[in-house]
């Protein structure tokens, strides 16, 4: 049954398979290849059926490894032992190594895959301390999409110079995927553009998907990554010591981020970052973003949406004079 899955497919899934106990691994491997190919999530909840998401639909896994869309009688029910085993395997028996990640509710696997975690939380003075009981895992199978940033490159680069860019987007619109490919292209360079040094401050290990400091996604040859580092601190560290031409970060929103970004601007470093927001007007409602927009820090403001499907480039503004540079959405 293992031969049914092409080697290639098996290689991409390997870190995930390694994190599953034998019985569940066997079931996942015997899923119908068309479902397995587009696997998006594996949902594991204690005392409830094992489920997988693929192509926007969810399936129950039966004991014999078939995936069916309706709750079957012989669905596999996840046991407490399974949960304990998975936790052992995804953490490499080393919960202490994921202290910070656990606090944010996830663990990054080798290969840049993220496992979301929920259960009973222990609260301390400074927020969440740790989990007392972990009862659900959401193993997300992220796929890097090479060349997805092609459509925005003409707006981000002007005369061979990278521009200060803010990408606005609601959640789940492919903002991080875009950022990842943008980093790869700016760093590697492409016809008509020489690669530049890129620094990624990857606070939540999403852009580069680092495992033990090594990026698991292709983010380019001239790219340095500060993994798990708070954005404001990371930007300043980069300015001081790594001399990047471009700094890429995800989801700005704290007052100290603004100060760090201004520091970078004064040091002549280009900033590319994102924020959760559906449009420019929306962004102006948020005090932190408003202050950045009012200061006309960003030369380009890109808005993502889903009018033509996930990841559509809806609008492009010139951040300095407010001109609209893109007349209709492109995908």
């Amino acid at each position: 049954m293992i031969q049914r899955i092409e080697n290639n497919q098996r290689n991409t899934l390997q870190p995930i398979l390694d994190a599953l106990p034998d019985n569940i691994r066997r079931m996942v491997l015997s899923i119908n290849p068309t479902i397995l190919e587009a696997l998006e999530e594996i949902r594991i909840r204690q005392n409830r059926p094992l489920m997988v998401y693929s192509r926007g639909r969810d399936y129950f896994l039966c004991i014999n490894g078939t995936a069916v869309p309706h709750y079957p009688k012989n669905a596999y029910i996840v046991t407490k032992e399974d949960i304990r085993r998975i936790l052992d395997l995804i953490s490499n028996y080393s919960i202490y190594a994921f202290e910070e990640e656990l606090r944010h509710g996830y663990i990054t696997l080798q290969g840049g895959y993220r496992v979301g975690i929920s259960g009973k939380v222990v609260l301390g003075k400074e927020g969440i301390v740790t989990f007392q009981h972990i009862t659900s895992f959401n193993i997300r199978i992220a796929r890097q999409i090479i060349n997805i940033a092609n459509k925005i490159l003409p707006f981000v680069i002007d005369n061979g110079q990278v521009l200060h860019t803010l990408i606005l987007s609601p959640p789940q619109m492919g903002k991080t995927t875009l950022l990842r490919d943008l980093s790869r292209q700016l760093s590697n360079g492409f016809p008509g553009f020489r690669g530049v040094k890129v620094g990624i401050v990857d606070e939540r290990s999403e852009i580069a998907g680092c495992f033990q400091g090594i990026p698991q996604n292709d983010v380019g040859v001239r790219t340095d990554i500060l993994d798990g580092c708070p954005k404001a601190l990371g930007i300043i560290m980069f300015i001081r010591s790594m001399s990047p031409n471009v700094i890429i970060t995800d989801e700005i929103g704290k007052p100290e981020d603004v100060i760090a970004i201004e520091d970078a601007l004064n040091a002549g470093i280009k900033i590319i970052t994102t924020a959760h927001s559906s449009d420019l007007e929306d962004a102006r409602q948020r005090p932190i973003l408003k202050s950045l927009l009012d200061k006309k820090v960003f030369q380009r403001i890109l808005v993502l949406g889903n009018s033509l499907g996930t990841g559509t480039l809806e609008k492009v503004y010139d951040g300095i004079n407010g001109q609209i540079l893109l007349d209709r959405p492109i995908r």
Partner: protein, 173 residues
Amino acid sequence: MFLKIASSVAIVVCCTLLGMHMSFRYKQRIYNIRVLQSILANLETEIVYYSTFLTQAIRNSIRTLNGDWKIFFMEVADILENKQEYSLDDAWNKSLNKIQKNPYIGKAELDIMYRFGLQLGSSDRQNQQKYFEIVQEQLKIEEENARQLHLRYGKMYRSLGLLLGLGIAIILF
């Protein structure tokens, strides 16, 4: 006559060696406890300061050391790395069982390590550090005990061996 002398000498030598062996047990136990303390100190650094994954942390900690506990830790790391269906507890206890008949390891250390295994790796760094402190303290006490025993019985067994040998030889002569 010659045979008598030869066999008497043989008896004396054997008994002395036996006595030395008994006394060596006490000495070796102290050595093993000290090695264990060093391994755990290294492991603490790996875990608390570098957050190295447990199997790698164990391998790094035992690299420069020797002794019976090194074998134990190697065993644990091997079991965990081979991804057999073992939890850390299983691997830990299985390896402990393997060395529990070792004459150079005291029951007290085995108990301490058994309890330590229940806590290892399962909490955040601050907590792990606390457990390391506790286990080091307990081992210090055991080291002191082992030294006392060595002082008291180590010498005794050595002289006892010689005396016993001489005694038997004289009776048989």
